[in-house]
């Protein structure tokens, strides 16, 4: 295996910092993100409030640190569920072939025409917006890219001589998939998971922005941008802070994903 691209370390370090701060929020921050002090509205930064306060007098730094909890947890859960379901079904389709393969791939063809954000919007609004609803809405359309990739990779791996050898030795199907197929296709799927992570995070924050994701008063980066709009001329920081948080997370996860793709794509390796 060739040297890992530096972007993986760089993006990984930023991502780790963001995740640590998000998980450690209660220990890092003494201020509570939902404590309103209406006499302290829209304050500039001070020693008491390092980044100032928002339109309800809540500490902006506390809301920033707590603001990733809903989106990031939902993103991670959704990416894991979609990856497991998609990879499982895709690998199975590629392995079994025939009618199973045909049916599953037509289902993928069908789901792929439903635009993700609109579907999530409709489902989230018709059911009650919340963690479970959003997870459902994101997973229904989210597993298809993994299925396509896993199926293509399985077809590719399936023709390899070592699999023929394993089959000739009478190794069970389950064991072949578990021991030989999955380890050989996990790399590109991991790369895709990171790239999808960025995409899903941006979708969830977008739904929060539209008021259909995290519900108030839950601090959330997407909702913080929407709340900042009426005040952005007076206190631009209210807009910049959550924007930067969303961008940095999406950016670091993307460069890790693209780095992994470079690492696992045999065609790119030559360049």
């Amino acid at each position: 295996m060739r040297r890992w691209p530096t972007t993986i370390y760089l993006g990984g370090a930023v991502l780790a910092l963001i995740l640590l701060a998000t998980i450690g929020a209660p220990w890092l921050m003494s201020a509570h993100p939902n404590t309103q002090v209406l006499s302290d509205r829209l304050l500039p930064s001070s020693t008491k409030h390092l980044l100032g306060t928002d339109h309800l007098g809540r500490d902006l730094l506390a809301r920033l640190i707590y603001g990733g909890r809903f989106s990031l947890l939902l993103t991670i859960t959704s990416v894991i569920v979609a990856a497991v379901v998609g990879t499982g079904l895709g690998a199975l389709a590629g392995w079994l072939g025939g009618l199973w393969d045909e049916m599953l791939m037509r289902l993928v063809d069908l789901l792929i025409v439903f635009p993700g954000i609109i579907m999530a919007l409709v489902i989230a609004a018709l059911l009650e917006p919340g963690f479970g609803t959003l997870l459902l809405a994101l997973t229904i359309t989210g597993w298809t890219p993994y299925a396509r990739l896993a199926r293509a990779l399985t077809l590719e791996v399936g023709t390899m001589p070592y699999l023929e050898a394993a089959r000739a030795l009478g190794v069970s199907q389950f064991r072949i998939i578990n021991r030989h197929v999955i380890p050989n296709i996990i790399g590109p799927l991991l790369a895709m998971s990171f790239l999808r992570f960025g995409h899903v995070l941006l979708t969830i924050a977008g739904l929060s922005y539209l008021g259909l994701g995290a519900q108030p008063p839950t601090p959330d980066w997407g909702a913080m941008i929407a709340e900042a709009l009426p005040y952005m001329q007076r206190v631009p920081l209210l807009l910049f802070v959550p924007s930067l948080a969303i961008f940095l997370t999406a950016f670091s996860v993307t460069i890790v994903g693209q780095g992994l793709m470079l690492l696992f794509d045999p065609k790119q390796r030559r360049l």
């Binding site: 396509r148 924007s243 460069i255």
Partner: protein
């Protein structure tokens, strides 16, 4: 090749049918009582008698079973009659067409802008791999992928509308109003097009026939224009068509931020108001476009590159 084309075309009505079924049932699957939705949409929370509720049920054909309702819906849809909005009682067809005109204008502007910038940029980077130009282009496109519309749009508004006061903040009353939304929408496709152009161009430039052409002493400009560009464009063209579908269905946030009366905004408002006929019709139009565009892309792929096999080995 003819076989593949036929196979793809026979799938088209099947996918349309299943998609329409899913869209029709979606509001019901979530347990919404459509009669109550109408009442809420029309008269707010005012109390109504059992009798008037029943009359409304009959008036809107909601007393029939779902299969009957579905057949009626599809039949009317095929004739271009999309029913009436629960909220405004205006014909859904007019509302959707008006929104579609706005959204398609915006999407095509964003797409053309993205192609116009991404093609030269990606090619420029690919011709000097590893140089600082390549580094800057790659980094910029990675940044572009990570900036969502709801981050880009407020920043553009703050800079160009509030601080510089060059452009209007929101609305849809002329060409000036289109600039900021189009800029916002173009960011992500621009970033992806640049990356795809660069990667495709790099791959082609490393191909044997290019090396031969270079060995014959062909000038770099002619080499790119005559030999490399055509083959490098195939993945970019397919990506473009897919993005057209994505933009038509994905402009909701931009339309909400800039108060643009497009299709995304119409569906968003309909969703919040529980206006089921409008939700169904809006989704159906977007999905039908996506199906048509996907099919066209597949056909284009088959025609441009006969080596690709649909079905068993398609990725």
């Amino acid at each position: 090749m003819t076989n593949q084309l036929l196979r793809r075309l026979t799938l088209l009505p099947l996918i349309l049918f299943v998609a329409s079924l899913v869209i029709f049932l979606l509001p019901y699957a979530t347990g919404v009582d459509s009669t109550m939705a109408v009442i809420r949409a029309r008269v707010g929370e005012r109390v109504l008698t059992e009798e008037s509720i029943e009359r409304l049920r009959v008036e809107l054909n909601l007393d029939q079973g779902l299969p009957v309702q579905y057949m009626q819906w599809v039949g009317r849809f095929a004739r271009g009659d999309l029913g009436f909005s629960y909220v405004s009682r205006a014909p859904v067809r007019e509302i959707i067409l008006r929104g579609l005109r706005v959204t398609s204008t915006l999407s095509i502007m964003a797409l053309l802008l993205a192609i116009g910038i991404a093609l030269p940029l990606g090619m420029w980077a690919a011709m000097r791999p590893g140089s600082w130009i390549d580094f800057v282009v790659t980094l910029t496109s990675q940044i572009g992928v990570a900036i969502p519309q709801y981050v880009m749009a407020p920043l553009l508004i703050l800079l160009f509308a509030v601080w510089l006061d060059w452009l209007p903040t929101a609305g849809w009353r002329g060409p000036l109003f289109m600039i900021l939304p189009a800029l916002t929408l173009t960011m992500r496709p621009l970033a992806y097009f640049t990356q795809t152009t660069r990667a495709a161009m790099l791959e082609v430039l490393n191909a044997d026939y290019i090396r031969t052409a270079r060995g014959k002493g062909l000038s770099p400009g002619l080499l790119v224009r005559r030999h490399a560009l055509r083959n490098a464009l195939i993945p970019v063209v397919t990506l473009c068509t897919l993005w057209l579908a994505a933009l038509l269905g994905g402009s909701v946030i931009v339309e909400v931020i800039f108060a643009i009366p497009g299709l995304g905004r119409i569906i968003y408002d309909a969703v919040l108001a529980g206006d089921i006929p409008l939700i169904q019709a809006g989704l159906m139009v977007i999905v039908a476009f996506a199906i048509l565009i996907n099919t066209l892309t597949d056909l284009l792929y088959i025609v441009l590159n006969p080596a690709i096999q649909l079905g068993d080995h398609s990725v």
